[in-house]
């Protein structure tokens, strides 16, 4: 088991290094960083001097090394457009994004899992069919449309909830949270629902189809034949066995979560990383783009690592090393 964990960790590290290199290339070679930092009037000589002083004429390996060291020290460069250190921008924006993602995911799990179990068990009830139809609608509604429609209904027509911003925010050490104020919650509801919709649909369908398969298995039949109650079978035996495929697919969809969080933040002008990124793309602000790439990769790799650990927790077959060894022999 320890070998499994270490292996996964090293793989994660390898991915991060590759992405860091891609980010590095972006930073230093796409467009000309010098052009972006000095005005038009600077002479050739001045530019060369600048290149030298910034170390841009050193061999690539040296530059890359410096890049990594800077990263680890928390220096992500200076935004072209906003003329501020990217690290500071990240510090301001990251909590907003993380809170949004967190709230929407909790909401999606609370809604998606029971619905998925229900439609998996009672596949022929009319309520199941209704829920499935609604989920089809959910898949067909692009996230930005959902956001806009929610704004239209709740902000424009009913005037109940704000259509942009985070509301009042409280600062705790390095983290600014909107979850401790009423206006903060009011502001987060609509974006969270928007972001959670595709997750609910995904989780619901996943769990449903996994339940349908699990309910056909011999061990469920045997559990019934032993006289265990339906509740124990559905939520004990069946649900636990759906977790492995569900965790897998959720792991695969982390990228989608990131993408849609960008969209949601844009629709609601939510001051998070995604919104920052979109603005950066518009201005070709490479430092922000490259840093965002790194962060997303980190998030991605980190979550996948958590997923791998979760496998160990859920499926005992992965835990014992000698089982893996037996598998190789057989």
């Amino acid at each position: 088991m320890a070998a499994y964990v270490i292996r996964r960790f090293l793989q994660a590290l390898a991915v991060m290094i590759v992405v860091a290199f891609a980010s590095f290339l972006l930073f230093n070679f796409v467009g000309d960083p010098i052009d972006n930092m000095v005005g038009q009037e600077a002479t050739r000589v001045d530019r060369e001097a600048m290149r030298d002083s910034l170390g841009l004429n050193d061999p690539v390996a040296v530059q890359f090394g410096r890049f990594i060291v800077n990263l680890l020290r928390g220096e992500f460069g200076i935004s072209y457009g906003l003329q501020r250190p990217v690290a500071a921008l990240i510090g301001e924006r990251l909590p907003a994004t993380l809170e949004l993602v967190f709230v929407s995911t909790i909401f999606a799990l609370l809604l998606g899992i029971p619905l998925g179990v229900f439609t998996g068990i009672r596949r022929d009830a009319w309520s199941s069919r209704l829920i499935l139809t609604l989920s089809l609608l959910g898949v067909s509604l692009p996230t930005f449309v959902v956001g806009i429609l929610l704004i239209y209904v709740f902000a424009v027509t009913l005037g109940l909830l704000p259509s942009f911003g985070r509301g009042e925010v409280m600062d705790l050490a390095y983290w600014s949270t909107g979850l401790l104020t009423v206006s903060g919650w009011k502001a987060i509801i609509l974006p969270a629902i928007t972001l959670s919709l595709f997750q609910v649909t995904l989780i619901l369908r996943l769990i449903r189809s996994a339940m349908l398969e699990v309910m056909r298995t011999d061990y469920i039949k045997f559990a019934r034949a032993r006289g265990l109650s339906e509740r124990v079978i559905n939520y004990g035996h069946a649900l636990k066995n759906t977790l492995v495929p569900v965790i897998t697919v959720i792991g695969l969809n982390i990228g989608t979560l990131v993408a849609f969080s960008i969209v949601t933040e844009t629709v609601f002008q939510w001051p998070g990383m995604g919104f920052l990124f979109i603005q950066a793309v518009g201005f070709a602000d490479v430092p922000i783009m490259a840093s965002y790439l790194l962060l997303v990769a980190l998030f991605f790799v980190g979550l996948n690592f958590v997923v791998d650990i979760l496998y160990l927790v859920v499926d005992p077959r992965l835990r014992k090393q000698h089982i893996a060894a037996i598998g190789k022999r057989g």
């Binding site: 796409v30 067909s140 930005f144 449309v145 806009i148 239209y152 424009v156 990228g255």
Partner: protein
């Protein structure tokens, strides 16, 4: 040899297809009203897209016909200024909303269909090679597929767009934008097709007729195609329909974000972006009708895809 074979049984292909039509597929299609409606809606959209100049009551891009006095007119059933000339109202420049929707559908569907085609050809080709050659190439392709699956189209397109903006001269950007878009979306969908074709190729290459073909001197792949294609049609169609829905959504999202199609050739996503500006000022029709059109189109395609998947899945029969 192949020519002779086909002569001997000229109905070989029709035999397969008519079997398909007579069987469970047609049966379940007729039984489900939702699917029939969905098919109809999809057809309407496609026709509108292809025959846009004839279907749309106005040409929204002909500046000569635009009259700013006609701007911001509400739909026909609202207010005294609504009229049948502009059944769904007009936008800020006096363009007929219905016509813009028709032309925008053309763009949305073009990008979507081309992206799916690219994905199918790319994925199918890679899958065919991977299944046939096997070995390290197969492992490589599968690994690439795994990596590709984790990167959603939207993220990839965003990065590509950002870089393109930097690297390409300003003038070319608009022209290339659509191709970049199709490329980004198409590439994000190839793994599905690759897996399907690879699986069937691998299953078939072990069979005796392949070795027999080699002995006779015919290239096994040409013989395999006859056996592979019928097996592959079903799953590919399902992938294509669901993929089309995803591609349309991806393009709409990117256009909404401002990094999709250029504003000169607006898609449904662009229209929604434009309409968003008028959300608070009361001209709701500029936003809601394009949004409704987008949802209707995607929903119809999804329903068709869902039905196809259920009808073709042997496990669910």
């Amino acid at each position: 040899m192949k020519w002779l074979q086909r002569q001997a049984n000229p109905y070989r292909w029709t035999g397969d297809w008519s079997q398909l039509l007579d069987g469970d597929l047609a049966y379940s299609f007729g039984r489900s009203p939702a699917t029939v409606v969905a098919a109809g809606v999809t057809l309407i959209f496609f026709i509108a897209a292809v025959f846009a100049p004839w279907v749309a009551p106005h040409d929204p891009f002909d500046i000569a016909t635009l009259d700013l006095n006609d701007a911001f007119l509400p739909p026909v059933w609202q207010g005294e200024t609504g009229s049948w000339t502009y059944p769904l109202g007009t936008d800020g420049q006096g363009r007929d909303v219905l016509s813009t929707i028709v032309y925008a559908t053309r763009i949305s569907l073009t990008v979507g269909v081309l992206a799916v085609l690219l994905a199918a050809v790319l994925g199918g080709g890679l899958g065919l090679l991977a299944g046939y050659v096997g070995g390290w190439f197969d492992a490589l392709v599968m690994r690439l597929a795994d990596i590709q699956l984790t990167i959603p189209a939207i993220l990839a397109a965003l990065m590509i767009d950002g870089i393109a903006r930097l690297v390409l001269p300003a003038g070319d950007q608009d022209v290339l934008a659509i191709y970049v878009l199709i490329l980004a979306i198409g590439i994000s969908e190839w793994p599905g097709y690759a897996r399907v074709i690879r699986g069937v190729v691998m299953a078939e290459s072990g069979k005796d007729y392949v070795s027999a073909a080699r002995v006779i001197g015919i290239h096994p792949v040409s013989i395999m195609l006859r056996h592979i294609l019928p097996n592959v049609m079903g799953p590919m169609l399902v992938l294509a329909s669901i993929g089309l829905a995803l591609a349309i959504i991806a393009e709409a999202t990117l256009s909404f974000l401002g990094v999709g199609v250029p504003p000169t050739t607006p898609s449904l996503g662009t229209l929604i972006r434009v309409g968003d500006d008028f959300l608070f000022s009361g001209e709701w029709w500029i936003l809601l009708f394009p949004a409704f059109a987008l949802v209707a189109l995607v929903l119809a395609v999804n329903v068709l895809g869902d039905w196809m998947r259920d009808a073709l899945d042997p496990k669910l029969r």
